[in-house]
């Protein structure tokens, strides 16, 4: 089983084409292993990216240093997955 302990999903907003290009660079950085959950490349729409715990600091520093606004959509992906598993078990019972 893959574990996602501490991984977060960030909702990122690009304000202009420069920020959009920076975002593309961020997600293309392979060692960060960012998984795009939703990837509109159009201005005004948000982008959701799942970021492994080990890449969180790097990703957030990148966003903040480039003044790209973001919010934390999911605090801990694993906690949510555990909850989902529990809900499914309860439903079966």
């Amino acid at each position: 089983q893959n574990l996602y302990v501490g991984d977060q999903v960030l909702r990122v907003y690009a304000r202009d084409n420069v920020q959009l290009e920076l975002l593309r660079q961020l997600v293309a950085t392979e060692h960060l292993q960012i998984d795009i959950w939703r990837s509109p490349t159009k201005l005004g729409l948000s982008m959701d990216v799942s970021v492994p715990f080990t890449s969180l600091q790097g990703a957030k520093v990148f966003l903040e240093s480039n003044n790209i606004p973001y919010s934390i959509m999911i605090e801990d992906v694993q906690a949510l997955l555990d909850q989902e598993q529990q809900d499914m078990k309860a439903s079966r019972l």
Partner: protein, 309 residues
């Protein structure tokens, strides 16, 4: 084991085995209307089952598929609810009855069974198929970049490790080839609706080019009507438009392939987004999502019925 579709829990997520067992139950409960067709196998050998809703005579058809991206669990869940709704409405709801008497409906609940199974056993966030890529350690192809429509363009990736990897060649994925062959062999599919999540959008061709489709105005008007109908239930806001103008360039997609192969009413649904959970949409939202999506589906199906071509 849930042996009757009435006692099945529509408000929870189910494994592939449970869904396939439910399909058999639905067929046995509505034998005069619903049948199961095996249209092929996935790369790991799992069957691809299509539900056919028909009163006979091989009529023009509407195709609906769910679950092409494995982690979008809300889409098979919505497909199950939709199948039950169609079956139980026939003979009771005059509009649904009219639609089914003029059109057959084909519903594929799990388009990517290998991926779906993998999300239940190993990696909840898996998106692609589970096919082996020769020369790469990375597994799987994005089945919504594998269609023969603008295949391999910049709105897809040539890297087998990427989530939008287009595959070695068009229809390299048996899941896609099975669907494409089935639709082409049928020869009379008039609408192709492919269900994704979670951007709250209704998209239509094109994704691989900025050119407008010859039927752009009609597609846009119908999308507006469908999105309005959907919003009327829970005020879920949908945007609509061409794929390339509304979200991004995407090459090798289902709807573009459908349109390029003569299926005028080709749409992609992006089901609801609570803004909080992404793919892990709480099970409590399954039925509301399915209910609102149904209103849009009916609007499109009615239009297809009233505008034969």
């Amino acid at each position: 084991q849930e042996r009757r579709t009435n006692s099945f829990s529509y408000s929870t997520y189910h494994t592939l085995d449970e869904i396939y067992s439910w399909i058999d139950n639905l067929v046995s409960e509505y034998p005069k209307l619903v049948s199961k067709i095996n249209i092929g196998h996935s790369s790991e050998g799992r069957p691809l089952y299509v539900l056919k809703f028909s009163t006979g005579d091989n009529k023009p058809a509407i195709w609906i598929d769910n679950g092409i991206h494995a982690r979008e669990w809300i889409t098979p869940a919505t497909g199950i609810w939709t199948a039950k709704k169609i079956a139980s409405s026939y003979g009771k709801d005059s509009l649904v009855t009219d639609i089914i008497e003029q059109l057959d409906i084909f519903l594929l609940i799990v388009t990517n069974p290998d991926g779906y199974s993998y999300t239940h056993s190993t990696n909840r966030m898996w998106r692609k198929t589970r096919s082996i890529n020769v020369g790469s350690q990375c597994v799987g192809v994005d089945p919504n970049r594998n269609w023969n429509a603008g295949f391999g363009g910049p709105g897809s990736s040539s890297n087998p490790c990427a989530e939008t990897y287009h595959g070695a060649y068009p229809h390299s994925e048996p899941e896609i080839k099975s669907v494409a062959d089935f639709i082409l062999d049928h020869g009379n599919v008039k609408a192709l609706l492919t269900i994704h999540s979670y951007s709250q959008m209704l998209l239509f061709p094109y994704g691989y080019t900025n050119s407008l489709a010859p039927d752009h105005e009609e597609l846009n008007e119908l999308a507006k009507k469908a999105a309005t109908a959907l919003s009327s239930l829970y005020e879920t806001r949908y945007t609509y438009g061409t794929t390339i103008a509304t979200i991004y360039q995407a090459d090798g997609t289902t709807t573009d392939w459908g349109y390029d192969n003569g299926i005028k009413y080709s749409y992609t649904f992006e089901l609801r987004d609570t803004g909080k959970y992404g793919f892990i949409l709480p099970a409590s939202q399954i039925i509301p999502t399915a209910e609102e999506t149904w209103l849009a589906l009916v609007e499109i199906m009615k239009h297809v019925k009233d505008h034969p071509y």
